[in-house]
């Protein structure tokens, strides 16, 4: 089982949504969570603080989730961070785009704690392999 002290960064422009994701993570035992309201803020936080896991919405103003993902993967320091993309779309081309950009996983809104746990575990397994 994953370390419950992992530090998460939840990125979403809608504060209700950040709260939802934060609550779901809390249910799964992850309480070390910080938030950012768009990709730019997130990137700044990632560069100045330590995080172990990024959970980001796709569609945001200023800097979208996919742009954030690309920026993270292009950064030598941040490159290895697991990145779970959240989106409202189950569109195939979106999923492929996220995959190509290096997303570790992809989850469609709305989801439950159980679904989130399943996605997280898949990512943890992939890392530990």
């Amino acid at each position: 089982m994953a370390d419950k002290n992992l530090r998460f960064l939840v990125v979403d422009d809608f504060s209700t949504m950040r709260r939802i994701v934060r609550n779901l993570l809390k249910e799964l035992g992850f309480t070390n969570v910080d938030e950012a309201e768009d990709g730019q803020v997130a990137l700044h936080k990632l560069k100045t603080q330590h995080f172990d896991f990024i959970v980001s919405d796709w569609n945001m103003p200023n800097m979208t989730g996919i742009e954030l993902l690309k920026a993270v993967r292009a950064d030598q320091q941040l490159k290895p961070l697991p990145f779970l993309m959240i989106t409202a779309e189950a569109k195939r081309e979106n999923i492929i785009e996220a995959a190509m950009a290096g997303a570790s996983g992809y989850i469609v809104k709305p989801f439950t704690a159980a679904t989130l746990e399943e996605k997280l575990n898949k990512i943890f397994q992939a890392i530990n392999k």
Partner: protein, 621 residues
């Protein structure tokens, strides 16, 4: 069940945030009409619906998900230039926005909204498929997420994980599902593990009512967002007050033990002064937590003005300013109805049609400005139009025609007073009753509402140039500045907002005009009313002072025995009893109860004979 513990709170948060978001979308739609090609605008609006859809999905509000999803698809096509924005498409979009807002309303009452009107969904689909509203065609929506997915093929064979991932993500999405069902299917499938919240296969509306019902709580918006800095301030101050209290407790012990030398007493004085300061600061800080920017209210109006102008065939631009001005939250809510009415009035009665404007040599588009600013300890809200203005004579004639005042009274009114006639119940200058305004129930209700907020409303108008309506409001209702006066050996508090000046009453100066006592102040003949008389009590002494009071349109002198001073009071409502003319009670510094007077109420209660005592009584007692 813990999965969605705190759902009620979440719903409140969602509604508050989404309402703001939707108002923002509304304003952007008004902008979009001017710049239909603006991609940034289209993107923002797209994201608005997208975000609301996402939140609604978590709350299992399927009807909202469905509607937002289609509207979002529509904007996706618009921003990709697959569709052209025209007035018909715009109407559909505005209709959809209004429906989403209605759904927020239903949710706010803790109820699950019904599915959007079938006609609206059909029209949306028709627009999506590139046809204009006519035949129902629910299947034809090409932008359906599921329909866009053919059987997963081997195109990206290098990435084998992604096919499985894709299937994990969209477990039940059969390719030929209609767009209506697609989002719902995802909801159901993804929610399956949480049986308590979303039993699989249960019809969407049924499964969520149980959840949202518990969220009903109170009807009106009863949560508030507070800047944490402000909250910290309250915390700090209450901490400091605690420390000062400790200091006072120590000092009390010392004094009780007989140690009352000058040092101790000076410390006591210091501690009390400090407490005084801190309590003042705390009151301010607490008040600030209730302050909200008025922009949250203003932002609804450009859309309102636009819709109405379009309906009336006018070209109107509503310009806002001072949206950041802060006002007590309860006042903001109570201001909505009056402001809606004033905006509608300005569009309907205030400004002329484009043709009339051109004839009058004005620029075709009329301008309505809605501004807010803080002036001293008041908030000033003004709505100004550049329309035809008000004609004092026409107003006078109308009021007489309607039998609201008699001809003699009408002729005695000056121009400024004529404008005030529109506040009379039953006054309306439109002969025809329209759906917009003109039922004559408006302005008197507006004024009553403003007065309930301890505010004042004024009109200025120049024929041919426009009208300005000014509303002046106190910053908060929680603390009321008052003047404490004495009559019949009892203190009373009158709202300071109505006090213009204080004069001494010289019995020689009292003149009788048609049987009523009056005093001339700077050429203005003002009726003299004794407070005792207004209350219906027998006067105990000859009044020595007069308070020059100004209510909405009349000024008078309130005769009283003496003054206590000015004070900031917190009004406590009287339980179960409501004596005419009394707004509530408060405690004075010495601990006695002071009645706070509601002057308007007091005047109407006694109007006609109100406070009229024989002039001789005023002079001889």
């Amino acid at each position: 069940m813990s999965e969605f513990g705190g759902m009620e709170e979440l719903l409140q948060d969602f509604l508050m945030e989404s309402n703001d978001l939707l108002s923002d979308v509304d304003n952007k739609l008004v902008e979009l009409e001017k710049r239909p090609e603006d991609r940034a605008l289209l993107n923002d609006i797209f994201r608005g619906f997208h975000t609301i859809k996402g939140g609604a999905g978590f709350l299992n509000v399927a009807p909202m998900v469905t509607l937002c999803h289609r509207t979002e698809n529509l904007f996706d096509k618009l921003r990709n230039a697959e569709l052209q924005l025209n007035p018909e498409v715009m109407d559909v979009i505005l209709d959809a926005t209004a429906t989403v807002r209605d759904m927020f309303g239903t949710l706010g009452q803790g109820l699950m909204p019904k599915d959007a009107d079938g006609g609206l969904l059909t029209t949306l689909d028709a627009v999506l498929s590139g046809r204009m509203p006519q035949a129902p065609a629910p299947q034809a929506a090409p932008a359906a997420p599921a329909a866009a997915a053919p059987a997963p093929a081997a195109r990206q064979s290098n990435e084998p994980d992604w096919n499985t991932l894709y299937q994990a993500v969209v477990p039940a999405a059969a390719p030929d599902r209609t767009v209506v069902e697609a989002p719902a299917v995802v909801v159901a499938a993804e929610s399956e593990p949480v049986t308590a919240v979303a039993p699989p296969r249960a019809p969407a509306p049924a499964k969520t009512t149980s959840v949202t019902k518990s969220a009903s709580g109170g009807g009106h918006e009863n949560t508030i967002r507070i800047d944490t800095n402000r909250l910290d301030m309250v915390l700090n101050l209450s901490g400091e007050i605690g420390l000062t209290k400790n200091r006072l407790t120590t000092l009390r012990t010392e004094i009780l033990q007989g140690n009352n030398d000058s040092n101790t007493l000076r410390s006591l004085d210091e501690a009390i002064s400090q407490l005084d300061l801190l309590v003042g600061d705390l009151q301010n800080a607490v008040m600030k937590t209730r302050m909200q920017p008025i922009g949250r209210l203003f932002q609804k109006y450009p859309r309102l003005a636009r819709d109405l102008a379009r309906q009336l065939g006018k070209d109107v631009e509503l310009v806002l300013s001072g949206e950041e001005t802060e006002l007590d939250k309860t006042m903001i809510e109570d201001l909505n109805d009056p402001l809606v009415h004033l905006v509608r009035n300005a569009v309907d009665h205030g400004v002329e049609s484009t043709a009339e404007r051109i004839t009058a040599g004005k620029k075709p588009q009329s301008l309505i400005q809605l501004t807010a600013e803080q002036v001293g300890d008041h908030i000033l809200i003004e709505i100004t139009d550049d329309g035809r203005g008000m004609n004092a004579d026409a107003l006078r004639r109308k009021a007489v025609e309607k039998g609201l005042i008699d001809a003699e009274a009408a002729n005695a009114l000056d121009e400024k007073q004529c404008l005030q006639l529109i506040f009379l119940p039953g006054f309306s200058t439109k002969d025809q009753i329209s759906s917009v305004s003109g039922r004559g129930v408006g302005m008197d209700v507006v004024r009553t509402n403003i007065q309930k907020l301890n505010g004042r409303i004024d009109i200025n108008s120049i024929p041919g140039e426009g009208t300005r309506i000014s509303i002046s409001l106190p910053l908060t209702l929680a603390i009321l500045p008052v003047l404490v006066v004495r009559a019949c050996n009892q203190p009373f508090a009158v709202p300071l907002a109505m006090v213009r000046e204080i004069i001494t009453i010289d019995p020689e100066a009292i003149q009788e005009v048609s049987g009523n006592p009056t005093i001339v102040v700077r050429d203005e003949i003002l009726p003299l009313k004794t407070l005792a008389g207004l209350l219906g009590w027998a006067p105990t002494q000859k009044p020595g002072f007069g308070v020059l009071m100004q209510s909405a349109e009349r000024s008078f002198i309130l005769a009283i025995d003496s003054f206590v001073g000015r004070d900031d009071v917190v009004i406590k409502p009287l339980q179960n009893i409501r004596p005419k003319g009394v707004a509530g009670a408060t405690l004075s510094g010495d601990g006695s109860v002071v009645l706070v007077l509601d002057m308007e109420d007091l005047l109407t209660a006694k109007d006609g004979m109100g406070g009229v005592v024989k002039t001789s009584e005023l002079i001889t007692i």
